[in-house]
């Protein structure tokens, strides 16, 4: 008796277990965030020359990095959902196209992709424009920030597709059967039953993708986007103090990633607790 359902019940009980201790106390890793911030403040105040100058110089780069990361990430969530659903489609064309997308994009380094979008893609568009005699396309100029976001979204969308796919597949078949047996369409079942549960499952890997995206956004510095990394290089070019510049830049990235990691953990625990 009960052989089929016991393991799944036991497993779901484990994942639903309320996490009481760590929530009640402060997550000790927050101290690391505090320490790194403290370190930056000490450097900037004790040795204002050059640290304060560097910080002022790269300030707008921080904003650009945050904007690019957040915008890309929101778009990645959408692209990834469609990619993941496409990978599970029973229609061969949709499955084929989404699989092709995932496989091709995952096989090319992000840096090469970004360079392609910035240097090769506009030329392709211009050639097509000349060919079809459309002035708007023939005179197409790449906007650095838009191109950077497109490059990041296309690449991370492919990774995210696989995360969505795995998340959806992790939901027991019985959930689909129960919703379909109530007369729901495939879409309604996905929208109201499967995706809401899958999203909880994929929250940790999705959070990791955000942090990875934040770090990889430094690659956009090669395509003329004045992000944190590029601003650091620009400061370097005139002041020649690599130790100070790159130490401060590294610490600034570290603050952002550590802070994001803490937020991800918080969200995870919260959704577990509320289940």
């Amino acid at each position: 008796m009960a052989k089929q359902s016991e393991p799944s019940r036991a497993r779901s009980k484990l994942t639903h277990l309320p996490v009481v201790g760590p929530i009640a106390r402060m997550d000790p890793w927050w101290w690391l965030v505090v320490i790194v911030i403290g370190l930056i403040i000490v450097l900037v105040t004790v040795r204002a020359d050059p640290f304060w100058d560097i910080l002022l110089f790269v300030r707008d780069g921080i904003i650009v990095t945050v904007i690019i990361t957040v915008t890309s990430f929101l778009l990645v969530l959408i692209v990834g959902m469609f990619g993941g659903l496409g990978r599970l489609s029973q229609k061969p064309i949709i499955y084929g196209l989404s699989s092709l997308y995932v496989e091709v994009v995952r096989g090319i380094p992000l840096l090469v992709q970004l360079i392609w979008w910035y240097f090769a893609f506009p030329t392709v568009i211009q050639q097509i424009g000349r060919w079809l005699n459309i002035a708007a396309l023939a005179n197409y100029q790449a906007n650095a920030i838009v191109t950077a976001i497109v490059g990041l979204v296309v690449c991370y969308g492919a990774y995210m597709s696989e995360i969505y796919r795995a998340g959806i597949q992790s939901i027991p078949k019985g959930q689909t059967e129960a919703s379909r047996s109530l007369g729901m369409t495939r879409f309604q079942s996905m929208r109201h039953v499967i995706l809401p549960q899958a999203i909880r499952v994929i929250l940790p890997p999705v959070g990791n993708e955000f942090i990875a995206l934040l770090k990889d956004s430094s690659l956009v510095s090669v395509v003329a986007v004045a992000d944190l990394t590029r601003r650091g290089r620009e400061f370097m070019a005139t002041h020649f103090n690599p130790i100070e510049v790159w130490t401060l830049i590294a610490l600034l990235y570290l603050v952002m990633t550590l802070f994001s990691a803490r937020m991800v953990t918080r969200v995870e625990k919260k959704t577990h607790y509320e289940r």
Binding site: Q4, S5, A178, L182, Q188
Partner: protein, 244 residues
Amino acid sequence: MEPIIHIENVHKRFGEVHALRGVSLDVYMGEVVVIIGPSGSGKSTLLRCINRLEEYDDGRIVVDSIPLDSAQDINAVRQEIGMVFQSFNLFDHLTVMGNLVLAQRVVRKRSSDEAQRVALDLLGKVGIPDKANAYPIQLSGGQQQRVAIARALAMNPKIMLFDEPTSALDPEMIKEVLDVMLALANDGMTMVVVSHEMGFARAAAKRIILMDEGQIIEEATPEKLFTSSSNERTQRFLSKVLQQ
């Protein structure tokens, strides 16, 4: 009288396994039919063919005058067929109320108020009116299965299918689920039940179907099956089940 479920010479293969070998069965409005048989005999597969959770390869099934193989909209047919699973399959991310309301809202297009009223009424009927705001994980197996029954009933189905509804339950919880099913049977619901609960079969079934190796080998009233079956395979199966 026209049967509400008409199954005619249905075959189903899973690769090499011939799960159903020409099954024919009629179920009439208001009837309770219990299907028994050893595991792997095809009884669950047959049940799942009735609402096309499983596609059959050959034969014909007509539910409520709609032939399943040519049904334009299988979802419309499924709205009329409630199904209760061995493993409950409640929606873990929703409260009990959410479980009962969801399909009423998105499939039956009922208003939120009406759906909640129906839900509360049914939760009363299955004996857990105070659990509306609990999550499935906070309920016992017996309570979860009663919620699952209420969720199916909320759609006002004409037929209820039960796929081993008590097999995943601890012994002390089996009765509370069977009592709900018995009340439902007494209310005149058309039910097809795959179960090994002989007590339930004896009390509720109009007919018992015994399946083995993908075929119906005997079909009889409970009294006849339990007391005077002449079929050798039936006797062998019954002696095993009743020993437990």
